[in-house]
């Protein structure tokens, strides 16, 4: 690692990545979204509020790079009846806090309130999101994103988009 990838990540830089990701998802701009992750990054939506052994637990979503690409393909293909059309979403991220920080890496926690609209129905999903962000030669990348819905262990309706 060179010096530039070891610089600490400021709160402002971290927030900008989180907002960029949110904007790419809301505007269905998936190619730059896929490029925003490190190759071994995991995207998780846990099914239980507590615990972090995601690999050995049932999750609502547990996506590595290949699964993220498939999820995008599913949203684009028109083959999925629940994603044709894909729900429109607007997500607001706030209450940012850096939980931990080391050279070129930080853990950022924030709140997300997302409104979904599709077929005359409006629904809201509220979540705590934790990002692990890392500096790479190409800029800041997401190494992990965990979306903890506040009602994850309750019954929720189908979510045919990316939280």
């Amino acid at each position: 690692m060179d010096a530039t990838t070891r610089t600490a990540i400021s709160l402002q830089d971290a927030m900008e990545v989180a907002w960029l990701e949110a904007d790419l998802l809301d505007s269905a701009d998936y190619d730059p979204w896929l490029a925003l992750w490190t190759p071994d990054a995991i995207y998780v939506v846990p099914a239980e509020p507590a615990g972090d052994d995601f690999e050995n637990t049932l999750n609502i979503a547990y996506d590595d790079a290949a699964m993220r690409a498939k999820r995008v393909e599913r949203l684009r293909s028109g083959q999925s009846v629940s994603a044709s059309p894909v729900a429109r979403t607007v997500r607001l991220l706030s209450r940012f806090r850096i939980l931990s920080s080391e050279a070129g890496r930080c853990e950022l926690r924030c709140a997300q309130i997302l409104t979904e609209y599709r077929r005359e129905r409006e629904r809201m999903h509220t979540a705590d999101i934790t990002f692990v962000l890392v500096r790479t030669p190409d800029g800041l990348r997401i190494a992990r994103k965990v979306v903890r819905l506040i009602n994850a262990s309750d019954a929720i309706t189908g979510v045919s988009y990316i939280l």
Binding site: L58, Y62, S80, S82
Partner: protein, 423 residues
């Protein structure tokens, strides 16, 4: 002990179900829904838990039988009880924790305390009753409980046949289903819960609906690897649906995966090669083959009327909420004490298809939602259930059987529905 108040008017429900079609008010009539909750759900064996969810004394989970909230609890002697979650004093629920461990159930309102077997043990400020309160008269209302192969069922009925008779030929299929433990006991590994705005029977039908699979699940099939896609080519594999009596049915989609202990010498699929290699580090080849063959689950769906499906690799639990609202739970299954790598593989397979963000379930939910919406139109027009009837055969034991995409399983469920609603 309890006084039975009449709860539903008598209606001519039976007229709604014909041999090959049904009236669409079956999905939309609130009075019919209320009648179903008592005539069906209070008069038959309803699945409430798997033994692995409450393995030890004091373990409990909340469940529902129809619309009635119940607590499923194992006492210190290992006996499973199912109690209505309602205090005998003035009806407060005793428990609002989904799952846990306890020594007793204490009502939060005035503190009446019940033992795990439901008996009333303590009443605060008992003096106020002047010795007139006989605690033996106020146990929790307990249901009849019976278990088959780890599947725990309960019923309000004291009269209906034992569980074993109710399941009948379905037991053989349950035995086959449990072979996916690969020699380890089956355990639940969490569940996905989601709701759709539609009637519970729309979901009940779907568990034996192979017809929709290649169409609704196109996006899943496109995303799956080649081998998985081929194994799901179920319209062309000689599968079948069979009526097992009492509303139960089985749909065999992948005949090669009916008995997971057969064909252990078959080549290991490419998609499981890495898993097999990992398992070889700690397990003999024979066991590796057994585990790998079991990892993807069985090639059939067993639909147990009215609320449980033993579906390929998971339990599908159906919970009616209202005439037009249903909760579906998909419990992931694993091998208790089995290799972590195999259980991880099962979790990932489950997540891929099931749950609110799976590549399958949301599309199912969408089409069920469409059925409910569409059924608001032309109420007099029937729901057609005749697919596969023209070549349906009656086997040696009098069981109807037709091809994999036949609506034989739905006809079986509706025949039972009709019997129960007319009784």
């Amino acid at each position: 002990m309890t006084v039975a108040f009449p709860v539903t008017p008598v209606l001519d429900a039976g007229a709604l179900v014909g041999e090959d079609r049904a009236g669409s008010t079956l999905y939309t009539d609130p009075a019919l829904f209320a009648a179903e909750m008592s005539r069906i759900f209070e008069n038959t064996w309803v699945w409430v838990a798997h033994a692995s969810e409450i393995p030890k004394g004091g373990d409990f989970k909340m469940a529902q039988v129809g619309l009635q909230p119940v607590i499923v609890v194992r006492d210190r002697k290992g006996v499973v009880h199912v109690h209505v979650n309602r205090c005998r004093h003035r009806a407060a629920t005793l428990c609002e924790v989904r799952k846990g461990k306890t020594n007793s159930f204490v009502c939060p309102y005035h503190g009446w305390a019940y033992a795990l077997d439901g008996s009333l043990r303590g009443v605060p400020y008992e003096k106020g009753y002047d010795d007139s309160l006989n605690k033996a008269e106020f146990p929790l209302l307990s249901l009849r409980v019976e278990e088959y192969h780890g599947l725990i069922f309960a019923t309000f009925s004291r009269e209906i046949q034992p569980l074993s008779d109710f399941l009948g030929p379905a037991k053989t299929w349950i035995d086959l289903f449990m072979k996916q433990g690969a020699g380890f006991p089956i355990k639940t590994m969490g569940e996905h819960k989601f709701r759709f705005p539609g009637n519970w029977k729309i979901q009940l039908e779907n568990t034996t609906d192979a017809y929709h699979f290649p169409l609704v699940h196109k996006s899943f099939l496109s995303a799956a690897d080649r081998e998985t896609e081929d194994s799901w080519d179920i319209m062309n594999k000689g599968g079948f649906v069979e009526d097992l009596g009492n509303g139960h049915s089985v749909m065999v989609m992948m005949p090669e995966l009916v008995d997971l202990e057969e064909n252990l010498d078959a080549p290991i699929p490419e998609k499981f090669a890495a898993l097999a290699e990992e398992l070889r580090q700690s397990h003999p080849e024979e066991q590796v083959r057994r585990i790998v063959r079991a990892v993807g689950g069985c090639g059939f769906n067993l639909n147990l009327f009215p609320n449980l499906g033993c579906s390929a690799a998971f339990f599908r639990v159906l919970q009616p909420i209202a005439v037009d609202e249903t909760e579906v739970r998909h419990a992931a299954l694993g091998m208790e004490g089995g290799p972590a790598a195999a259980n991880r593989a099962r979790l990932r397979i489950h997540e891929f298809f099931q749950g609110p963000m799976g590549f399958g379930s949301p599309d199912d939910a969408e089409v069920w939602d469409r059925v409910q919406h569409g059924a608001q139109g032309a109420a007099g027009m029937p729901i057609m259930l005749h697919r596969g009837l023209s070549h349906e055969e009656v086997g040696a034991e009098g069981r109807k059987r037709s091809d994999v995409s036949a609506e034989t399983g739905m006809r079986a469920a509706y025949a039972q529905w009709k019997r129960m609603m007319e009784a």
